[in-house]
Symmetry: C2
Subunit: 559 residues, 2 copies
């Protein structure tokens, strides 16, 4: 059983596999009427229609999907492209997440501007590797420009600064990364290596490793400070970098969800007392769970006073800088040493693009490296100071966004998102049976469904202090979890969920719906409908037994 | 100055930017005759023709290109898509590297099978995030299948093993990564965390960091052993992971370029003597510079005997496993603990896909992590044990390659590359004025141009021992460098260059042309033409003064 020119035509018979037939896959394009080209055209015509037609709304059980991907043996023989595409559409695409659906407001991925699709195809066709200029030519200056523009957005240094550094071999204004996690790791890697740089008798941590670093600097240990709202990638970074997850010291937040500055100062002092060096202070600018922003200016004051590296994780919130109206939310960010911003979130670039920007273009020298056949001394190769090696030119898509939208276009999109989130929070606030848990600063909010009489019962200080209320809260958590899943399974709307510290109940976590308003296609009507569906589900059989249990405990009749 | 529906039509007047006009970028596709759609169609019709028409062959000076990307200020106002695309074509695409050109045999990137382009567009349109099932649904089982198939290719465990583990929440067969560097870092991260795992009085390095790890295990230091042909990403990994670049102990190679097993054993013994723990032994399976492969079976014996983690960096050479004919080159790989393979190299997938495979599906538990809103305990979310967080579903392209080519198809492509490389090495061997420096095992070779009389002069033991010969060698290095650049600038052919230890001259590096035969479109005629052009350049003005200097030193008349 073999195949001849299997790729050329959907209908051709499979007769022989030879190297000649394989080579044609690289040279002879498929005919216009071939399945894959049809799909391609369908996509170009109307993405939303394509997804609505091809993606099944109701959820298929994961175990059933797994059964379709059960073999671990690579198929021996080639198959026709058309055959594979048919399979793909039926088994994979049909059961993907419709990220364009305006009712799916639980993820950070959203609809993309249509022009990103053909542009991505151009990027893939060119297949440049921005690790070095030799494999990317003009793409290296282009990427440096993107980093410069984002650097300017954040740090707004003088024109002469950019004229000097933008294309300078001895510095970089930042690094494009596959995402915010790699960006955060890179920032802390630089911070760590600068803390434990070379000095007489010590080659520096980059060369000598941790084994001598602490002794060389007379430290007992090294820590990173971040609010309890910090992203989990920071803990991962601490693990990877050998700092240790337990050495990410979690600083409590104020009620507004931003870092408690007084406690931060106290913790720094106690670190000094214990002989622990603070490698970095990490500020959160748009936390993943609630979108809250730390007081960047106040943290910068502390960082400068203590001589500590200030990193701002603005993976989510960074694009607020595009907006004249909301830019001030991030006031102080220009005083940071490094800043993470994700392009695949609020810059509407496809998945796989984050960046870290460094105020000082020479910061990355602490992680610079060279090799004989690549990124030689004196080269402008971007790979000399990135965590990743070979990398696609995703920066081309950011470059397109920055030009096609312009600062003003991105600003308007940000403002639209924040405005819609404000609207939704008003809607929740006005509804007697919903409780707004975190007030949105940007475009993320959390809330839960709590029947009105139960809200009153829980708010009474007397009940709140009782042990019964803890049991009620745990049942409410269960209800929220069930409602979230039930709505997801219906397939029309989707909010995510998370757990946040409970304001009234020390040590208890509150399960909440989490909403991210980033899809520009989401309308006010959809938001109303989401609450309505949750109300319906809450009145249905899925949570009935929970309301009964709550009634027995609290005496409050709910349904 | 503002813009109305700027994205809709190339010709429309720019009149007003509003949120409504911006939103249409997400909903209304551009007209068929629009510039971007024309480019898209051109690409679908014939990639090679597109690149030949759009990419300028002769090299533009980097400084001139930089002048086109000189502004660091984000443009204030949006521009029409068509306007941006015109700019892009002229300033960026025209000065990119034509990776399809069959005469460009210096890079590891090559032409792509045409079906990868529309498939990439589908991937981008779906914009799934494989960090968790909630944002990727069927893409998580699909990616697990890809990892399973590649795991089976490498380790060939029993069917029951895959039935149990393929979709199991408690294990992963590996991790998709943005490239081989992240794959190598991930492997050594796992190895490090397993070496310094939790035990009474020590929480484990993941939590506690390096500060306590060495003391808890009674080590003076920790090292990683790899041959001197190891990829520079290993040194970067040692830096990132806090092991230290100097603790990558370079093991000498035999003349064939593979690790010297006796010296490896000696070095391990001396590490023990010094109280240094060996975190991992890294074997190279297809070195970047010469394509040579370490004796994996012998290294596995040592690793098993010493209880050391064996990682095989098969980023380049891994796909030899597809070929019945060449699979034996990697004999012993199935005994490794972890293996890196890049898909964006010899699996003809676009830039940005590597993977690391773990023999034991529970290995990754040493780096597993959770968060409240993501990758919760018990979930099958792939993000629980990857270095990266949010990730695109590039595995879909590997999945397509594995099915459309099949094992046999990939095998044939590998065999074709190796055969062509053998042919080229014969060609070089037969030419009196070229010197083959590294004999190819896979499809990489190195060589240089040395006029025939000079070759004879250098080979005489008497001359080789003289100090003059060192000066001649240095001049030859210069000549090789100039010839390589001159050929690149002509724009029709491209070989890369590197420096290798000189077999005859201790401590001296030999500059060589480096050739990677991975583009299936490269023909024997092109290889002949490359040598011919180098010969012509060697007879030209660019190196004339070097030949004169060499003549003065050696007395050998060259031209």
């Amino acid at each position: 059983m073999c195949i001849k020119e299997f790729y050329l035509s959907d209908s051709q018979a499979l007769t022989d596999v030879s190297i000649d037939s394989l080579l044609r896959v690289f040279t002879v394009p498929e005919k216009a009427e071939a399945t894959l080209n049809q799909v391609d055209r369908e996509l170009s015509l109307d993405i939303a229609a394509f997804l609505n037609a091809r993606v099944v709304a109701t959820e298929k059980d994961l175990a059933e999907i797994e059964a379709e991907f059960a073999s671990a043996v690579i198929p021996e023989e080639p198959v026709r492209v058309a055959h594979h595409i048919d399979n793909l559409m039926e088994k994979l695409v049909a059961h993907s997440v419709n990220t364009y659906a305006p009712g799916f407001i639980g993820h950070m991925t959203s609809a993309l501007p249509y022009f990103m699709l053909p542009l991505s195809k151009i990027m893939v066709a060119l297949n440049q590797n921005v690790v070095k200029t030799e494999t990317s030519k003009a793409f290296t200056p282009m990427e440096r420009q993107v980093l410069g523009m984002m650097h300017h957005l954040v740090f707004a240094r003088a024109e002469a600064f950019y004229r000097h550094w933008l294309h300078h071999a001895d510095g970089q204004l930042g690094a494009m990364c596959s995402g915010g996690t790699v960006a955060n790791i890179t920032a802390l890697w630089v911070a760590r290596n600068r803390c434990y740089g070379p000095k007489p008798g010590f080659a520096g941590i980059a060369k000598a490793g941790w084994s001598q670093a602490l002794a060389a600097y007379g430290d007992r240990d090294a820590v990173v400070l971040v609010s309890e709202r910090g992203h989990y990638s920071l803990s991962k970074a601490a693990d990877v970098l050998g700092i240790g997850r337990d050495n990410i010291r979690s600083v409590p937040c104020t009620d507004s969800g931003s870092i408690d500055i007084q406690q931060l100062s106290d913790i720094i002092a106690s670190c000094h007392d214990r002989g622990e060096r603070v490698i970095s202070l990490v500020a959160v600018a748009g936390s993943t769970e609630t979108g809250c922003i730390d007081a960047l200016d106040e943290m910068a004051v502390i960082a400068e006073r203590e001589g500590i590296w200030l990193h701002v994780d603005a993976a989510w919130g960074g694009p607020a800088l595009f907006s004249d109206k909301h830019r001030s939310l991030l006031k102080g960010i220009e005083r940071a040493d490094s800043v993470t911003i994700d392009a695949h979130k609020q810059m509407y670039v496809p998945m796989g693009v984050g960046m870290v920007l460094f105020r000082d273009p020479e910061s990355q020298s602490s992680i610079r490296h060279h090799a004989n056949y690549i990124i030689r001394q004196g080269s402008k190769d971007l790979g000399s100071s990135t965590l990743e090696g070979s990398r696609p030119a995703m920066s081309m898509l950011v470059h397109a966004g920055l030009h096609i939208f312009g600062r003003r276009g991105y600003g308007l999109l940000v403002e639209n998102n924040i405005q819609r989130c404000k609207y939704f929070s008003t809607l929740i606030d006005m509804a007697a049976d919903f409780e707004l848990v975190s007030v949105p600063v940007l475009n993320i909010l959390t809330y839960r469904y709590v029947p009105a009489p139960l809200q009153r019962w829980l708010e009474s200080p007397e009940n709140a202090a009782s042990e019964v209320s803890v049991r009620v809260e745990l049942l409410l958590n269960q209800a929220t979890q069930i409602l979230q899943r039930a709505q997801r399974e219906r397939g029309q709307y989707f909010v995510s969920r998370t757990s946040l510290p409970h304001a009234r109940q020390q040590g208890l976590l509150k399960t909440v719906f989490r909403v991210v308003l980033a899809n520009p296609l989401t309308t006010d009507e959809i938001l109303t409908a989401i609450l309505q569906e949750q109300r319906e589900l809450a009145a249905g059989p899925a949570v009935k037994v929970l309301w009964q249990e709550i009634k027995q405990l609290s005496g409050v009749a709910l349904i």
